[in-house]
Symmetry: C2
Amino acid sequence: MALFGGIEAGGTKFVCAVGTGPDDVRAVTRFPTTTPAETIGRVIEFFRSQPEPMTAIGIGAFGPTDPDPASPTYGTITSTPKPGWQNTPLRKLVADALGVPVAFDTDVNAAALGEYTWGAARGIDTFIYLTVGTGIGGGAMVEGRMLHGLVHPEMGHIRVPHDWAVDPFPGFCPYHGDCLEGLAAGPALERRWGTRAETLPPDHPAWPLEAEYLAQALVSYILILSPKRIVIGGGVMHQPALFPLVRTRVKELLAGYVQSPAILEGIDTYIVPPALGDRAGVLGAIALAQGQR
Amino acid sequence: MALFGGIEAGGTKFVCAVGTGPDDVRAVTRFPTTTPAETIGRVIEFFRSQPEPMTAIGIGAFGPTDPDPASPTYGTITSTPKPGWQNTPLRKLVADALGVPVAFDTDVNAAALGEYTWGAARGIDTFIYLTVGTGIGGGAMVEGRMLHGLVHPEMGHIRVPHDWAVDPFPGFCPYHGDCLEGLAAGPALERRWGTRAETLPPDHPAWPLEAEYLAQALVSYILILSPKRIVIGGGVMHQPALFPLVRTRVKELLAGYVQSPAILEGIDTYIVPPALGDRAGVLGAIALAQGQR
């Protein structure tokens, strides 16, 4: 019987799992992302130690990456600012060591695929998966296919209106300063308010401001990509006050322009958390492995 | 031998053509968009007067529309602000009168399909076609399929940074004020500078400002949709100074973040005018008809 491996290769931590889906996860491990040699060494050790061999493995990786199967550098982490990881051929190193087929995509595309296969986007052919955590990134399925395009989307780096009088925080993105990620990812909250996002109470002014930035971005996503649903995961979204604030503001900003019942009447099921929770990434990597079998 | 009809149904004028492609256009007519009854009457009269019957007809229409073939209102112009045109079943009226299959999509998706079939996007599976004229709209092909999603994109209505000190013009979009269309479509130039866009000389300050707004929007499109090329048509783009200004500013704004040779080294072939010129729309409608044959 076929058995699959999933690797959620994050910039902060790696998660590896073995199984066939959310109800059949046979082993899982987590460890911090250190050097490529040490980190990939632990990945290989984990899969070698399993009682049964993998049929295939999937990797959802932090980036920027090269996710094009036709490219000679397919599965490489390319121009990341993360020290030591530039031009790391992650997919090739895993495939060569374990001798099995390895599929590769961005971390957010993998999570999107997980939610499409088993989660909040089942049966929906055009949707976005956004994660709001240490960084902000988005994956998308469009008309039934994972979106890659020229390289892959970098939805977290779009510009959103920034009223300096209301929010003097300059943003922390090393490339763009006050892009969405620079203003609204976890580290932005921590630096702006002087405390970690998870310690901010639900009635703190941090949350309406966070909702404003996220809603402005979602409106751009909706107008450009016309998704049928938006799934938002990541640590910052663990604050329960945030989803209602974002939904309300998206409707206000669209001002009735997109005349779809999904938005006008069904916003609570249009902007949703991931059904797989924080397992979306690693389960999506397993789904990726299954697709390439 | 199969013969096709194309209808570019614009908010200002309709263009109808008969043929099989850009080198075989056998008849063409243009007339202003007046009432639905009069305008659609002229469409039907034109096709009835042809010596040969059409095998199929394609319509690329102004909107918002319902372009979903599975919907009971497929091919209807829905919530347009254009007087008299709300909920006009354009596709059905043409199909019933002429008794041939009629395919329907947005005007910008039709133009995109034209450029994909015969023009500047041949062989490119993920790209955007943008028109900058009386309004601003975008169509897209993603991984080989026309993007529709929830309804269809409304890329012209995204928000772009608006520095009121530099540009006190408030925008003219009735829904959003200073969205991209409100700041950068033809009527915005006319109202801001007091003269029609085509009369503004190439060294007029109108053009760097126009390039700034368009470049800001293109950067959002690139980060969200990752197109392999962007084709920009429409009357405002007839100013030759505009393309170089837009290309330069897009590279500056991306700041090297999207590390693709297509952008870093090939921006002149990445952001391009339509190869079919102002015929992209009506030829795209013929391509639409051929796809549905």
